[in-house]
Amino acid sequence: MTSRLAAALGAFAILSCTAPPPAPPGPTAPANFDAATVAKGARLAATGNCVSCHTAQGGKPFAGGYALKTQFGTVHGSNITPDPETGIGGWTLENFTRALREGLSPEGHHYYPAFPYDYFTRLSDEDVAALYAFLMTREPVHAETPANHMLVPRVAVGIWKSKYFEPGRFQPDSSHDARWNRGAYLAQSLAHCSACHTPRTALGGEKREQYMAGGEADGWHAPALNRETPSPRAWNERSLTIYLSTGLTEGHAITAGPMAGVVQNLAHASHDDVGALAYYVVSLMRGATGSAASSVANAAREHPRGAAIYAGACGDCHDRGRAAEGGALELPEAIALSLPTPANLIHIVRDGIVPREHEAQPWMPAFSGALTAEQTTELVQYLRSVSGKPPWPDVAAEVRRIEGDSR
């Protein structure tokens, strides 16, 4: 063995004297990835929900162009298919690793942190390699990523990074078991749960001391996943695993808003990984204080007009409960009523819950045509009162804002 290696090295030495210097390492050819690694990468990419931001509406998967609106302007998900000109076809594993872990392009410029490298930095070598194998074996799509419209120049991202970006791998917590650590690893790296579920500073940095205390995504509230969970019913590992992989579980509202895309992806993730995520998240929620006592009678007294709209527009389905045919969740159990802001409830009332094209999912009709802004406000105020929680401060303004956004 040793002699063979020496012979090979000797042959290399001879060759390198006569041949031109070796070209810089290029990307690995698709044929050189083994199927198991690619399949693992596919499950990981689903866990990371990569496709949501790296696919334009109606566009080819991973070919980029999705416009992500942030408070700092609009940034477009890039083309991460292996097209050599417009995608990552020319990237080596080192280029890819540096992008994920340091937020730097092969040319060395900073990526906007809308690309969640502040989470991906914790990924293991093995998982980075599997993601690379998966992406490099996709169909190359020639698609130029549209220009970003950001108020902040790229160089300023360097300053942001120095304040908020902590590069480094995931450190397991030995006081917890392996499954918990697997869930924590995924939640804090690839799945980047806290990117939406943790509140942010005015500069867009995570408030780390409020980890998973509830944040914002695309105009929707992302509920707290720690002890402050506003969920009217406690989550357990089983219910959360089912929710994360199907969007629908007993006693909880169906998924809606940006989370719907996450769930659609998690359906293709490793089942063990989704279970570990649920196991970890449920541990964060342990010790939650529980919800306020709901009172339909009180709510109807306080908001008779909203109650009348509920009776005519919502009650036919929601009073029956899910067990009955055509029935829907009884609303005191719906988390949207118990959140710190009315945004999600307003979105759901106005736009319904509509599955993505070709997806078979429960369907809630939209009421934006049927109800005026004033009526929507009255209904939302009534439903808040049903939850037993204190009223939201300015529902009417929030309805106007959401109506303006969707126009």
Partner: protein, 155 residues
């Protein structure tokens, strides 16, 4: 008493506020174009137009409709003088059993009034909430496309 404006005519009605508009149209006003399909806003057979937007009349309580403009398929034309949407559906023979058609026409009408040059992708997207169990979707799409042209040529 509730006052409703349906196809430009005012009606004073003595019905509970949570009564679905569909029941009032069919039972009190004898406007039987809108159909009862599922009663849950899942099929679209009951679709009418309120203030220019397509709505499911089976889940819209009349208490929400005072002072608003309601239009039903009867408002699009008559047997003698069908409107462009109705003519297009007849010319394309887009109905089989016909149960879904008034709802289809009203949703398509609302679309073409707000987006007169809607293309097929937009028409397909807009009609998503309306189901047809016979399977005349392709004819319905052609009919709406034809209606777009008829309505466009009228100015």
């Amino acid at each position: 008493m509730i006052e409703l404006d349906v196809n430009g005519t005012r009606h004073r009605l003595d019905v509970p506020g949570d009564t679905p508009l569909l029941y009032v149209l069919r039972n009190d006003l004898q406007l039987n174009g809108a159909k009862f399909g599922c009663g849950l806003g899942q099929c679209g057979a009951c679709t009418v137009i309120v203030d220019g937007r397509a709505v499911f009349s089976c889940i819209t309580p009349v208490s929400a409709l005072e002072g608003r403009r309601i239009r039903t398929v009867e408002g699009l034309g008559t047997v003698e003088k069908p409107g462009p949407m109705q003519r297009a559906f007849m010319e394309e023979q887009a109905a089989q059993c016909g149960y879904c058609i008034p709802g289809m026409m009203m949703r398509a009408q609302a679309l073409l009034e707000s987006q007169p040059g809607a293309d097929e992708a937009q028409i397909r997207k807009a009609l998503t909430p309306n189901l047809c169990r016979c399977g005349t979707h392709m004819r319905i799409l052609r009919a709406v496309g034809r209606a777009a042209k008829l309505m466009g040529s009228k100015g």
